[in-house]
Amino acid sequence: MPLRTPFHDSHLAAGARMVDFSGWEMPINYGSQIEEHHAVRTDAGMFDVSHMCALDLTGIDARAYLRHLLANDVAKLATPGKALYSCMLNTEAGVIDDLIVYFFTPEHYRIVVNAGTAEKDIAWMQMQLKGFRAELAERRGGSHAVAMLAVQGPKARERFWAAFPDSRAVSEPLGIFQGVEFASTGGDWLIARTGYTGEDGFEITLPSGEAAATWQKLVAAGIRPCGLGARDTLRLEAGMNLYSQDMDESVSPYEAGLKWTVDLKDAARDFVGKSALATRRLSVQFVGLLLLERGVLRAHQKVITPQGVGETTSGSFSPTLNQSIALARLPLDVAIGSEVEVEIRDKRLKARVVKPTFVRNGKSLI
C-alpha cells in the first residue's frame, strides 16, 4: 500500500496522473507537464512536497549537534526562521542526503530531508546524536503530521497573499531563504521563501488537517497544480541537484557542484566527513550540457571529451530553452564553453559544456 499525502484527494479531484515515488503515491502531472512548467516560469504553480520528511530537533545541544552533523555551518543562522541548505556527509565525505535546516532558536531547528532517504537519514542522525542533549521528532504521519506545499513562480507570492491576506504582513518582508511562523486559524504554519525551481515563491508547512482547504483556496487564487514531472524539469533548468540521481554516497559535495555549501571558515569546527574531504582527490567536475542537435539527453549517457569520458547524471528536455539539457560529471580539465559528444543510442551528438544553471527567474542564462 503506497503512502499518501494529505493532498491526495485534492490531486485526484484535479485529474492528476499518480505514480509511485519512493513509496509515495504522487502526482506526475495533471495533463501537460510542459504547461505546468511554463506556469511556474511565467505565473504561479504549486507542488505537494508533503512526502519530504520534516523533523524537529530540540534540546540544549541542538546547535552543537548540527555543527557536527552538517557540512554547512548553522552558526551563521541568527534570525529566527532563517534557512540553510546543506549536505549531510558520511565519514568518507560521501553525500548521505541534502537537506534544508530552519533555525528557530539555538535549541530548536526544523530539518527537511528527501522522501526516499528519510529512513536512512533518521537512522544516521539518531546514531550521531550520541553524546548530544537533543532529540529528533518526525513530523510525517501520526497526529503531529504536517503537510508541505511549494508555491512557486513570479506571481506565486501575490497569488498566495490573495488567498491568505492575513499572512501578508509577516511574509512580505521575508528575504530569500528566510521563513516565518504564521498563526492560522487551524494551527501554526511555517512560510519560507525557499524552493526548488529557480523562481521566487514560498514553501509552506501547515497542519495536515488544513491541507485540502488550503489547496482549494490556492487553486481559486489562480495557482496551477504541478506534478513531479514539472518539478524535475524546473529544478534541472535551475541547475539544482536531485539526490540519488546527481549525487549519492559515492560522491562528495565537491564532485556534485556543491563546494559552496561546505563551510570551512571555522577551523575549530569538526563535522562528519571533514577530514575525508580534505584528503579526497578530486578528479571530476560537475557541469551543465546543452545539446546542440535534436534529441533528448538522459541520465547515465556517456560523454566523450578530449580529456576522457564523463557521464550525464540527469537530463531532459528544457521547456524554457526548447532544447535538451543535462547535468554531468566530466574530467576536471574540460573547459566551460567547449564542445563534447554525448552517446545517445547508436549516435554521438554534439553538446556544449556550460555552467550548471540554465534558467533563473524566468530568464535563460545560456
Binding site: I28, S32, Q33, I34, G229, G295, V296, R298, P319, R345
Partner: protein, 128 residues
C-alpha cells in the same frame, strides 16, 4: 480511450493502417501518447530501411521518457512524417492523424497475415 475501428494495433501500442496503395502507415496509439506525456522528439527510421515485423526501429521521446517503437509489419520505409518530426507535440494533440512512418511491404500475402495477427480496436482497448 480513443481506439478507431479502422486501425490495427500492436500490444506495444503502435497502430497500423493499410492504405489503398498497399503501403502501411504506422503511428502510436492515443493511450501511448497519453502515457508518455508531452512528446518532444522523434527518432524515425531512415528511408529505404528494410524492417521486419516486431523490429525496433524508432524512438519517441517525451519530456518524461524515451519509448522504443516496433514496426508492426515488414517492409521498406518509404516515407517518414517530417511534419511530426518538426512538431512532435502534434502527436499529443491527435495520435492518429499524426503518423510516424510508412512502409511498403514486399510481400502482400505476408503483410496481410502480419496485419491479421495484430489486435483489432476492441481487443486492443481490452488490454488498456
Amino acid at each position: 480511450m480513443n481506439t478507431p475501428t479502422n486501425l490495427k494495433y500492436a500490444a506495444s501500442h503502435e497502430w497500423a493502417k493499410l492504405e489503398d496503395d498497399g503501403s502501411v502507415t504506422i503511428g502510436i496509439s492515443d493511450h501511448a501518447q497519453e502515457a508518455l506525456g508531452d512528446i518532444v522528439f522523434l527518432d524515425l527510421p531512415a528511408l529505404g530501411r528494410e524492417l521486419k515485423a516486431g523490429e525496433e526501429c524508432a524512438v519517441v521521446e517525451s519530456v518524461k521518457a524515451a519509448s522504443d517503437i516496433y514496426s508492426p509489419v515488414s517492409g521498406e520505409v518509404t516515407e517518414i512524417n517530417q511534419a511530426a518530426i518538426d512538431a512532435p507535440e502534434s502527436i499529443n494533440a491527435d495520435a492518429y492523424a499524426n503518423w510516424l512512418f510508412r512502409v511498403k511491404p514486399a510481400d502482400t500475402a505476408k503483410c496481410s497475415s502480419e496485419l491479421a495477427a495484430l489486435l483489432d480496436s476492441t481487443a486492443y482497448a481490452a488490454t488498456l
